[in-house]
Structure formats: structure tokens, C-alpha cells
Assembly symmetry: C2
DNA sequence: GATCATACTTACTAGTAAGTAAGTTGTCAA
DNA sequence: TTGACAACTTACTTACTAGTAAGTATGATC
């Protein structure tokens, strides 16, 4: 048979891709099963409910982000380089046709999401904001960044711009994210 | 019977509200018909397809925005006041429980939208960007705004931040939009 | 008073959604 | 060789989706 967890991981991969492309209410188990050439019930075997599948997607992404933040190469980076790397996360999402970042996709469907997914979504956004706030705070203290007000407020602003731009790309032009990123960096210069 | 266009307008009102709350794939004709205490087919009488209803929502919004830009009181406003008024559009969306701005909602569902709705969505976003670009350009020339680079790039940045923040609010806190607006204004100061 | 359009309702259709119960098959361990 | 389990399939259910065809009440017009 197939290797252990192979189908399960393929399901999460595909479901995440569909979520980023079409939103939580825009994909079904049939989308996944037909793409993987298995039956509808096979998906239900691995993820009895769509809610469990949704939670699995977010939890895996949270783990990936945590791993990213803890990666050895991060500790040797300058604050500016870290911000660059963070912006690259959003650029990477757009490499796949029609994708948007996960936070943006989940926020949009928030009101129609089951409660457990809502909780995971809020935690996911909080992960990003906490990391970003610390980067901006430490970067300003070190003299690498310059901005007024609280680091948290600036973090909200940066994340909002990144998410907003990654979404705007769909109805406009893919260069718009780069425009926003240039402006974000500009807004942090002395 | 009911006054002319009353039901039709009520349908657009409700459909728009549902679209902003739940996304295009998150509401059905049944949501509308049961709320208005009419039958499913009554909605189809006014809007034969969901696509036509979707297009009607966007077109009405575009007309409302055009009317807003041409309102007599606008011409006497300072550039800063105009920007304030523009930001208020986004604040107003959030007054209704769980709403997000229309542009954000449409961009999110873009890939699953019928073609006519995609075209209207792109035009809707373009309306906003063109107005904003002109405001920023004229404002900088008059010495009221200060920023580097092209007005268009700054316009993309401002709209991205507004849309992103209006969406982030769902998974976080309603104060986050105000944070972003404060930062936007700060980024345009000398 | 007949005709006609408007604004519906009743009663359906075909398709798709998530989800389930029961049976099948390959693999591995005792 | 025999269980036992993982990983499915087959065959279904219930609920909801957009959309339609045909009929009806109401008011305005000729």
C-alpha cells in the first residue's frame, strides 16, 4: 500500500492549496478525492469532518512558522534581513496561481468557520503579530528601525498591509505586493 | 402590493450584507428568501441568477462611491479631511457585526467568481485606487502630504493596509483598524 | 369589464454538500 | 496460518444548492 501518512499529507497539501485558492466554503471533499484519485469516503477516513481537516491545516502552518522562527540561520540575521525573510513568506504564497496567504483566507471566512477553527485562526494571527512586534521593538532599540508609537501598532500595520496587498493582487496586478513591501520598508527607515 | 423596487432593493441590501459577512460562497438564495419572508423563486424573479445579483451589488456600490466622490461637500475639504473621509468608509463597514469591506470580500472570492463579477470587481478596485492616487498626488503637490515614490505605489499601500486591517479585525480586535489608520496618516506626514 | 403586466407562490429538478455503515484488500506480527 | 489492523471502496443518506415551469392574486390601463 501507500507509505505511512502519505495520503494523509497529500490531503492536507491539497486542502490547503484549495483553501488558499477558493476559500473554506469554496472547496469540497470531492475536489480533494477526485484530484487524488480516491473516493470521497477515503478523505473521511483520515479526516472524519471538514472541521478536523481545517484545524489540521492551521496547526501544521503554525508549526511550520514556529520552526521558521527558530531556524538557526535566523539568529545570525540582521533585523532588516529578518523583515525581508518575513515578507518573503507572503511573496511565496503568491508564487502559486491564485493563492493568498493563509491568515487572509481564514480571516475572510472567519464568520462561517466552526469554533475550533476560529480559535486556531486567532492563535495563528497572534503568532505572526507577536513575532513581528518583537522584531520591530528590538530593531528600533538597536537603531535599525525608526517609527513612532507602539511596536504592536506598527506590527498590526505591517501585517495588515502584507495581507491586504497579497489579496489585492487577485483583482489587480501581481506587482502590487512588491509595491506594498517597498512602502513598508520605507515606513521603517529613519 | 409592495412599493416599486422595494423587494428588489431589500434583496440587494441583504445579499450585500451576507456577502460582507459570509463571502460569496457563504450565502444562498434561501438565506435571503427566509429573511425577507418570501419564497426562493421570488428572488429568482428579480435576479434570475446569483451572478446577476452579485453584479448588481458591485454596480450599486460603484455608483455610491462615485456619488460620494462627486458630493459638493468634498470639493471644499482639505486633502487630510478627504483622506479621513475615505478611511471612514472602512470604519463604517465594521460598524455592522462581522462585516468586512466589499473590495476585500470580492478579492477573496475572486477565483470562484463568475467572469462578469470578476470584471466588475477589478473595476471597483480600480475606482478606489484612481481616486486615492489623485488625492495623494494632489495632496503632495500642495504640500499637505509627504511620501517617497509614485503616488500610485502609495495608493496601493494605503488601500492594502485598510483592506488588510478591516479583515484582520475579525480574528483579533476591532481596535486594529484604528491602529492601521493612525499609521497610515503618520506615514504621510512630513 | 376584459386584458395585461407585476410580483409573486407552489412544486418541482438536477446537482452537490458533508457524512456514514458495512464490506474488501493488502501487510505484518505472532 | 491466522488474526488484526490500516487503508481503503461501495453504496448509501440527508440536507442544501441554484435554477425552472406553471399557476395565481393584485392593480393599472384600454
Amino acid at each position: 500500500m501507500t507509505p505511512i501518512n502519505d495520503t494523509k499529507n497529500q490531503i492536507i497539501d491539497l486542502a490547503e492549496s484549495l483553501l488558499l485558492q477558493r476559500g473554506y466554503n469554496g472547496f469540497s471533499y470531492t475536489h480533494i478525492s477526485s484530484a487524488l484519485h480516491v473516493k470521497n469516503a477515503a478523505i473521511h477516513y483520515h479526516f472524519p469532518t471538514k472541521t478536523e481537516l481545517g484545524v489540521a491545516i492551521i496547526q501544521r502552518s503554525r508549526q511550520q512558522f514556529e520552526k521558521w522562527t527558530l531556524h538557526p540561520r535566523m539568529s545570525s540575521m540582521s533585523f532588516a534581513k529578518k523583515l525581508d525573510a518575513f515578507c518573503d513568506i507572503f511573496r511565496d504564497f503568491l508564487k502559486f496561481e491564485g493563492h493568498v496567504c493563509l491568515g487572509s483566507a481564514l480571516e475572510h471566512d472567519f464568520n462561517t468557520l466552526p469554533e475550533t477553527m476560529q480559535q486556531e485562526t486567532s492563535a495563528f494571527i497572534a503568532d505572526f503579530l507577536i513575532w513581528l512586534e518583537k522584531l520591530l521593538k528590538d530593531g528600533r532599540e538597536a537603531g535599525d528601525f525608526a517609527f513612532f508609537g507602539k511596536p504592536k501598532e506598527q506590527a498590526v500595520f505591517v501585517l495588515a498591509a502584507l495581507q491586504g496587498a497579497s489579496q489585492m493582487v487577485r483583482a489587480t496586478d501581481t506587482t502590487y505586493l512588491d509595491m506594498a513591501i517597498r512602502r513598508i520598508k520605507q515606513s521603517l527607515k529613519q
